[in-house]
């Protein structure tokens, strides 16, 4: 590392062909591929929207108030994530660790909401094998839930590292990369909440085909 490669903040600049950190670039490339991955599943959901031959139908099972709360929880976890990164970069270990733990807790709460929702749907007779709505819904939200689960585990490790002093301001890039992943999970949910919940929740069953009486 040459002296010229040290910035005024004493931050080492990567000596790569792009001048950018390769790990961070790799994460952005991965997120780009994940955009296409989720895009395909969301498109599939929309293609088969309203084509279920048997119930339960979206308007009979989707619970907007509950999902609004879980959406708020995930949005706030993104806020906690960016605050955690700020404090870790500032070298404030305790605040950094605390906010990473908040991310873990909020992520776990979101997973809890999803688990309860899935169980409720199963209780109402909707499983991935019931109809085309069930198949596309469970695959899309299930894959998103798997992403959240990976993120929570990742954040738990980082909280442990931060508490031990292994995650510091000079290697905060580790947290920043994890944060990119976490925020991406959040923006995917922003789309899912709009497309699947708010738009599809109005999809009533065909006349005479109601399966659930409230």
């Amino acid at each position: 590392m040459t002296q010229a490669a040290i910035t005024e903040h004493h931050t080492p600049v990567e000596e790569t062909s792009t001048g950018l950190n390769n790990r961070k670039l790799l994460m952005w490339a991965f997120l780009g591929s994940d955009v296409m991955f989720f895009g395909a599943f969301i498109a599939t959901y929309l293609v088969y929207r309203g084509k279920s031959l048997v119930g339960p139908y979206p308007s009979e099972v989707l619970n907007i108030p509950i999902t609004t709360v879980s959406t708020f929880v995930l949005l706030m976890s993104s806020l906690a994530m960016v605050l955690a990164l700020h404090y870790v970069k500032e070298g404030e270990k305790n605040k950094g660790t605390l906010w990473i733990l908040v991310v873990v807790v909020l992520g776990a709460i979101f997973m809890g909401f999803q688990f309860v929702e899935f169980r409720e749907f199963a209780h109402l007779g909707l499983t991935p094998r019931t109809n085309i709505f069930g198949t596309t819904f469970f695959i899309l939200t299930g894959i998103h839930g798997a992403h959240v689960t990976i993120g929570v585990i990742w954040m738990a490790f980082l909280a442990y590292s931060s508490n031990n002093g292994a995650l510091r301001s000079d290697n905060a890039l580790d947290l920043e990369i994890a944060g990119l992943y976490w925020h991406f999970v959040d923006i995917v949910w922003i789309v899912i909440f709009t497309v699947i919940y708010l738009i599809s929740a109005n999809d009533a069953p065909p006349p005479g085909m109601e399966t659930i009486t409230h």
Binding site: T7, V82, H183, L198
Partner: protein
């Protein structure tokens, strides 16, 4: 009008949304506010971070508040009847606002090297292309021949 257009769209140093060149490890460039490099950026710096040159917790809380309010508006739209054909476009617009808020500020694309923006933007374009193609193909591809 031409001046306003230039400020909105140009990235040549005078635009409100001017993207700075920064080293990868310094996503918050000096002399650059979260909204822009001109007076708007300075105003935000003073409001949110005590005059320090990059976005701080106050600004992130503001973005969080904005995201929460937009979510509440979305749910309110869901409850309102009579929006008709405006309902879906309005929801998609609000969803786009939240998307941009998270990507630009929480993911730091607003502050970061523009190569990341190009990489993610290109993926979005390809993703939306695949998305549209799939919708069209499955919507019209199974039609019986006349």
């Amino acid at each position: 009008m031409a001046s306003l257009w230039r400020k909105l769209t140009h990235h040549d140093g005078n635009g409100w949304w001017n993207l700075p060149h920064t080293p990868s490890n310094e996503p918050n460039p000096p002399h650059e506010g979260p909204i822009g490099g001109a007076w708007l950026g300075n105003m935000w710096r003073i409001l949110t971070h005590g005059g320090v040159s990059h976005a701080g917790p106050g600004f992130y809380w503001l973005v969080g508040l904005f995201l929460s309010i937009v979510t509440l508006v979305e749910v309110w739209l869901f409850a309102v009847e009579g929006l008709g054909s405006w309902y879906i476009p309005l929801l998609l617009f609000l969803s786009l606002l939240k998307f941009i808020g998270v990507v630009a500020f929480f993911m730091h694309l607003r502050f970061d090297h523009r190569l990341f923006t190009y990489l993610f933007g290109a993926s979005m374009v390809v993703g939306i292309f695949i998305f549209t193609l799939l919708l069209l193909l499955l919507e019209f591809g199974n039609q019986p021949p006349n």
